[in-house]
């Protein structure tokens, strides 16, 4: 599964630029846990992670909650061209916006199936891709596949 171990070549695709406030998210991903930030004031999940709740409460009081790992494809685009030279000669890949069971949306890749099988509304579940020893990307695959 992991592109880093499968190819045994250096991972040259873009890596996330970490911000201090997102540390818990990336640490959890590395442990193969998918967590989402939630405002303790309003009880609402939000994504992407921020230091303050983006809701009107503006609170710093944020808790990280283990997410169900279940989501639905809201939309997707089969990329035949990647953003950097590292994608040259790569097969087409699916970038998708999924809606998690917790109600937040997130950008991800749908893996573990032919891109042509991906449909809007499709049920997907979380899968962890250890792209480098330091970085694990949260991706999704068709439910039960």
């Amino acid at each position: 599964m992991s592109e880093a171990t499968a190819g045994k070549t250096k991972y040259e695709k873009p890596l996330p630029e970490f911000r201090p406030e997102t540390k818990p998210y990336w640490e959890a991903s590395k442990r193969h846990e998918f967590i989402l930030p939630k405002s303790k004031t309003t009880g609402e999940f939000f994504f992407y992670p921020r230091a303050l709740s983006p809701g009107d409460d503006m609170t710093h009081d944020i808790e990280w909650v283990k997410a169900s790992g279940k989501a639905k494809v809201w939309t997707f685009a089969i990329h035949h061209m990647g953003p950097t030279p590292a994608y040259k000669n790569e097969p087409a890949y699916v970038v998708a916006l999924v809606e998690t069971a917790e109600g937040t949306k997130m950008m991800t890749n749908i893996v573990g199936c032919d891109p042509k099988e991906v449909k809007i509304g499709m049920d997907v579940e979380v899968v962890f891709d250890d792209v480098t020893p330091e970085v694990t990307l949260v991706k999704f695959k068709p439910m039960g596949k």
Binding site: K13, P14, L15, P16, E17, F18, R19, T22, F47, Y48, P54, W74, T75, F76, A77, I78, H79, H80, M81, G82, P83, T84, P85, Y87, A92, Y93, V95, A96, L97, K105, M106, M107, T108, N109, P115, I120, V131, V135, L137, K139
Partner: protein
């Protein structure tokens, strides 16, 4: 919506009182133009606009610029003022992506109304095609994506628009050709515009069969990258007359902005985009005292085919979900229901962030659009969007003073 727009009357009264006009326009050659720097294009476009207005460089006392994808500077307007050799009383650089060009006219108007300047040069130019480095291109692609939570998944700028397009087609049960039809219409119009980069006719099939970039979008759903410059001069009717401007004036009737999201991750649904477009358009149209029925032609930011459909529907020119069929039936063509981008737009003429949309609207209102002339063109709606249908700006231009 109408009653919730704050201070429309204030803006309307200010525009009526000051009679803000576009008094001159300029376009350099467009396309692949090597051996010209970004600031050369800016200078040449400025010179052409000043000459078109028939005024002197010394008459210009305000400057609004944007940004460059090639020449990186934190202070773009003053860097250009230095290069061009002017010392403006008012200067500003706007950086709201594709919403910039349209908002330049609004910002110039606000500077004039508040007494900061009398004659404002709005200019943009860049040698994007010839001058951008491969790292610059990667930076541009990344700019639209969240560096931490989107870019690592390989999202590209066309990919972002493809995400919007896929959802749009799904919600309304539309097909690939509905998007393609927009590109076909733009190409048809570009065939009548001398400086357009791509003028050879394009068929629906050509668009669908062209190289897949990010499915459902192919090469011809994506705007071109080009070199070139364009400029326009904003002043008051009174000042224009005083300076002896001979060209017909295009009057600014209204302006507005609307914001949806920066990153697609935080987009709730398509309605959020429609609402931002509508907010921007309604503010501009209410200020102008018009409804969509009064609009004779629309200049819609067309960085990708999908944006034209979302904009024409969000603005209320066509009901939601009917933009695709409207395009496919050829109703965006000159001489039809609602001529859109009579110059060929970003998809076929040139990509200068919507500067040409403002220039073409002005030429149409002046009756100088030649073979592209829209009959009885009196009111133009011009709309820009920055980011991935994120940040919106609209202006309404009229052939007569706002009354």
């Amino acid at each position: 919506m109408a009653t919730s727009i704050p201070r429309v009357e204030d803006t309307r009264n200010a525009l009526k009182k000051h009679k803000i006009v576009i008094a001159g326009v300029g376009e350099t050659e467009q396309g692949k133009v090597p051996n010209k720097s970004s600031f050369q294009f800016l200078s040449e476009a400025s010179k052409l606009a000043i000459q078109d207005a028939g005024i002197q460089k010394t008459d210009v006392d305000g400057l609004v610029t944007a940004f460059s994808l090639v020449e990186h500077t934190f202070m773009h307007c003053t860097t250009f003022a230095d290069y061009f050799g002017m010392r403006p009383r008012y200067f500003s650089s706007i950086a709201i992506g594709g919403a910039t060009a349209i908002w330049m006219a609004a910002e110039a108007a606000m500077a004039i109304i508040s007494g900061q300047a009398d004659v404002v040069l709005c200019v943009r130019g860049d040698n994007t095609l010839s001058g951008i480095s491969s790292s610059g291109m990667v930076a541009l692609i990344r700019e639209m994506c969240h560096a931490e939570f989107e870019f690592p998944y390989g999202l590209t700028t066309p990919g972002g628009y493809a995400l919007a397009a896929q959802r749009y087609l799904y919600e309304y049960g539309l097909k690939r050709e509905h998007l393609a039809a927009v590109a076909v219409t733009m190409r048809k119009h570009a065939g009548m515009k001398e400086n357009a980069m791509n003028r050879e006719p394009l068929a629906i099939e050509d668009v669908i069969k062209s190289r897949v970039i990010a499915d459902p979008l192919t090469k011809y759903d994506c705007s071109i990258i080009s070199d070139g410059g364009a400029a326009f001069i904003v002043t008051t009717e009174e000042k224009a007359k005083q300076l002896g401007v001979k060209k017909p004036l295009a009057y600014l009737w209204g302006m507005g902005q609307g914001y949806s999201h920066q990153y697609l991750t935080t987009l709730k649904d398509l309605n959020q985009i429609y609402t931002a477009v509508e907010t921007s358009g309604q503010k501009a149209m209410k200020t102008a005292g018009i409804t969509t029925k009064d609009v004779d032609m629309a200049f819609l930011y067309d960085c990708f085919t999908i944006t034209v459909l979302l904009e024409i529907e969000g603005l209320g020119l066509v009901p939601k979900g009917e933009g695709g069929p409207f395009a496919l039936e050829g109703r965006m063509e000159i001489g039809k229901d609602m001529p859109v981008n009579t110059h060929g737009g970003l998809l076929s003429q040139a990509h200068l962030g919507g500067m040409h949309h403002v220039v073409e609207a002005t030429l149409q209102l002046r009756g100088e659009a030649g073979p592209r002339q829209v009959k009885d063109a009196e009111v133009a709606l011009v709309h820009g969007n920055g980011g991935i249908v994120s940040a919106h700006s609209t202006i309404v231009l009229g052939q007569q003073p706002l009354s």
